[in-house]
């Protein structure tokens, strides 16, 4: 299944956002997630289904002013 991860096409096998994060090497990372522009809290990743073409944003702490 093709998804768009942080703006780039990726092929993964995953039914939920939690599975997608596992497949995309974020398993234990401290990140915040959004799917198609909507924030998905950490405790809802397991019940958030992912479908073909979904845009997944995975953000982490970064330097800022």
């Amino acid at each position: 299944m093709r998804v768009v991860l942080n703006g780039e096409d990726r092929e993964i096998e995953a039914a939920t956002l939690a599975e997608a994060l596992e497949a995309l090497d974020y398993a234990d990372a401290i990140v915040a997630t959004a799917v198609n522009g909507e924030f998905v809290p950490h405790d809802q990743r397991g019940e958030t289904t992912i479908k073909e073409g979904d845009a997944i944003e995975v953000l982490a702490p970064m330097q800022g002013g």
């Binding site: 703006g7 915040a32 953000l59 702490p61 800022g64 002013g65």
Partner: protein, 259 residues
Amino acid sequence: MSARTFYGQALANRLLLGTAQYPSPAILADAVKQSAVDMVTVSLRRESGAQRAGQAFWQLIKELGVSVLPNTAGCHTVKEAVTTAHMAREVFGTKSIKLEVIGEDDTLQPDVFGLVEAARILTDDGFEVWPYTTQDLIVGGKLLDAGCEVLMPWGAPIGSGQGLNDVFGLRAMRAHFPDVPLVVDAGLGLPSHASQAMELGYDAVLLNTAVAKAGDPVAMAIAFADATRAGQAAHQAGPMEVRDMAEPSTPVMGKAFLL
């Protein structure tokens, strides 16, 4: 020491420091430690599962033991800013958010209409919003109506180093909102700019580039902390009134008549 608090938080050091653009993480950490700041700004950006740059950065910040103020830098719409704020609250574990809704790319001037709308949504949702705004008094009032308890007018465009471009506007804002914590955010280039803001009665200054891009960021961070403290002390000491004409400081009474 001023009794002013920021959403209930007393900041002993009224210099707030950004964490971007330093030559290295070690220099950032040293600048924060040596200047003894209590609060730093941070952001959220896309994380690569392979590289995980954000994880190392977050570990570094946590070890510094300072409060973090996440920003919504780069957001141009209310939805973007609100979504980013929610993501930041989860990752950083804080209700505090430096709310930026950018309206124009050359000046990075805030879109004050979007700012007020986003501020209302976020305060209703329990956030403590620190809005990056202009000196406009009406916008300031609307931000307070929206639930903000701090206002952060710009000194000059972000990263420009110009200092206080509108001293009249800043002075008017201070006079108009005497009981509101006010922070000059952005545009400062020199420690004297920080002093000037504090001498005007501002409660804190927030800057990043002036320290991070200095030849010696650690020394500049210390200089800004000292200048901020000096400006705060000067304001509390009560500066003299400016006069148009000279007034002898040496007493005239008793001067010898030698003509």
